[in-house]
């Protein structure tokens, strides 16, 4: 068989194995996932730890 035809057939097989369109999950960002932990402090006033 012609080398060119073999090469084209292999390439065709490789291409067919790839998904053509991205999945729906990839196309639409996950809008609900904005959960965030916020730690906060204020007026620490130079305290490292209490006196022992």
């Amino acid at each position: 068989m012609n080398k060119k035809i073999i090469f084209l057939r292999i390439m065709l097989l490789v291409l067919l194995g790839q998904p053509i369109m991205p999945s729906l999950a990839q196309a639409v960002p996950n809008m609900a996932d904005h959960r965030l932990l916020l730690f906060f402090s204020n007026n620490v006033l130079g305290e490292l730890e209490p006196c022992g």
Binding site: P29, N30, M31, A32, D33, H34, R35, L36, L37, L38, F39, F40, S41, N42, N43, V44, L45, G46, E47, L48, E49, P50, C51, G52
Partner: protein, 477 residues
């Protein structure tokens, strides 16, 4: 309670357990108790705190007015090393901000804009200009509201300014404040803004678990209001019942009954309106942003993060060594500043003189913790730490004279007989009594307020005078 090692443990553990992105913020007044710095050890401690905050990856820290106590350069040096100081209204002579006014942080797939405001009304060292907050905030919001999903203000402003801010700037979603008088502020939504803060001195760690939906306001919490209305209703019902059962009908009782019934009717109408609001808010839940909150009390029994505990230990060692060296390398200079040549502060005699006439009492005292108070500091290598010393020696900071540097007052030449919580700590200076016991009396009964000078909630949590006083009360003569 409190302390950075406990705070670090909580942040690390919760973040690891919950596997959610975290943001760590501080709204300022981090470094100093006062608006001026009187001792070098305060600078050592402040530098150490900034190192620890950086190690914990704090995202932003507002410059509070008290953070300026050591001058701009002190904060700017830390900023150059990557410390995340923010202030939108500390300006140079050309009216440009001296610190980053705001930052945008990408987290949880959100662009979070953080702005910091310093209190323009609070005293600051000369040469520093803290401008009005409104212009600074408007300028920052004009940029951030176009690009950010969530806008946070770290506010060092007064309560009135915070109220004005929430009224006039609904673009601000979250306000973290620094009001000294208010302690932990339960998060509440005012207009469009959620406001909260923690108690001072690092006793609590505030935490918000936020489910944020851009362009959807916070859900209003009607449940609390509903509870309050029902509480009042049950009180009124009892009062009405009591008045109706009253066997002595009089004009006053009848008038009161009428008053109760009217209030009850108004209350029922309010409850009905609230019911409708609750039903509506249930439907709106899907379209609102929401949060859960907690104030984690950093109690003594909570674990420490070992790495931060080690850093804190090293800072305290540095403080102790610095003070010890300053005493031993400059003894003459320090002696010159002493109020008297006597090694005891004015008016004090020491427990040995007391024991000459009050032997049984002195022997009893020797077996109490008060007699060992200084030794506990020696064991912890903190016997030169001015934060701790005042309550571990006789007299010290409790009677320190204004203008007398604490280090000289407490450390230099303090007679070893006063290096303990001696008789005169509770009964007052005894020099006059020793000289003329017939005429000069000391305070025999020790009132609670004397104990509370040192046994504060901060340093002696849960101290109870009635149970503790008998343990140190000397036997009668």
């Amino acid at each position: 309670m409190g302390g950075l090692p406990k705070k670090a443990y909580q942040i690390k553990t919760i973040t690891a357990d919950q596997k959610k992105p975290a943001l760590i913020l501080d709204s300022g007044n981090l470094l100093f108790k006062q608006t001026t710095v009187s001792e070098p050890q305060e600078l050592i401690k402040a530098s150490g705190i900034m190192d620890i905050y950086q190690h914990l990856s704090y995202d932003a820290v507002a410059v509070g007015s008290q953070d300026l106590a050591a001058g701009l350069g002190f904060l700017q040096d830390a900023e150059k090393k990557g410390f995340p100081w923010l202030s939108a209204n500390i300006l140079d002579t050309a009216k440009k901000p001296l610190f980053k006014p705001s930052i945008v942080i990408k987290r949880a797939e959100l662009a979070i804009g953080i702005i910091a405001l310093t209190n323009p009304a609070a005293p600051v060292p000369p040469g520093i200009t803290v401008a009005g907050w409104q212009n600074a905030l408007s300028g920052q919001l004009a940029v951030l509201e176009k690009t950010c999903d969530l806008i946070v203000v770290l506010s060092n402003l007064s309560d009135q300014d915070n109220a004005d801010l929430m009224r006039d700037y609904p673009q601000v979603h979250l306000l973290l404040s620094t009001s000294r008088d208010q302690g932990n502020i339960q998060p509440r939504v005012v207009n469009n803004t959620l406001i909260t803060q923690t108690y001072s001195q690092g006793k609590y760690l505030g935490m918000l678990d936020i489910d944020w939906h851009p362009r959807r306001p916070w859900a209003k919490d009607f449940a609390q209001e509903n509870l309050l209305l029902h509480d009042r209703l049950s009180v009124l019902d009892r009062q009405i019942l009591r008045a109706e059962r009253s066997n002595t009908p009089s004009g006053t009782v009848a008038a009161k009954l009428q008053e109760f019934r009217l209030e009850r009717q108004t209350l029922l109408e309010k409850i009905e309106v609230l019911k409708q609001q609750i039903a509506l808010s249930e439907n709106k839940k899907e379209t609102s942003s929401s949060f859960q909150h907690s104030f984690i009390a950093l109690k003594r029994e909570l674990p420490d993060d070992p790495e931060i505990a080690d850093r804190v230990r090293k800072i305290k060692d540095r403080i102790n060594n610095h003070n010890q060296e300053s005493v031993t390398t400059n003894p003459q200079q320090n002696q010159k500043n002493l109020p008297e040549k006597d090694s005891k502060p004015k008016g004090y005699s020491g427990f040995i003189r007391c024991g000459e006439c009050h032997a049984p009492q002195t022997e009893f005292w020797k077996a109490t913790g008060h007699a060992q108070a200084y030794q506990t500091l020696v064991q912890q290598r903190q016997n030169f730490n001015l934060d701790c010393l005042p309550c571990h020696v006789t007299h010290a900071g409790k009677s320190a004279k204004a203008g007398m540097p604490k280090i000289k007052e407490n450390l230099v030449g303090l007679d070893p007989v006063l290096q303990r919580v001696g008789c005169e700590s509770c009964h007052g200076p005894g020099f006059g009594h020793v000289a003329d016991p017939g005429h000069v009396r000391t305070q025999t009964k020790v009132e609670e307020k004397v104990c509370l000078t040192c046994h504060t909630e901060d340093h002696s949590s849960g101290f109870d005078y009635k149970t503790q006083n008998p343990k140190v009360s000397c036997p009668a003569s």
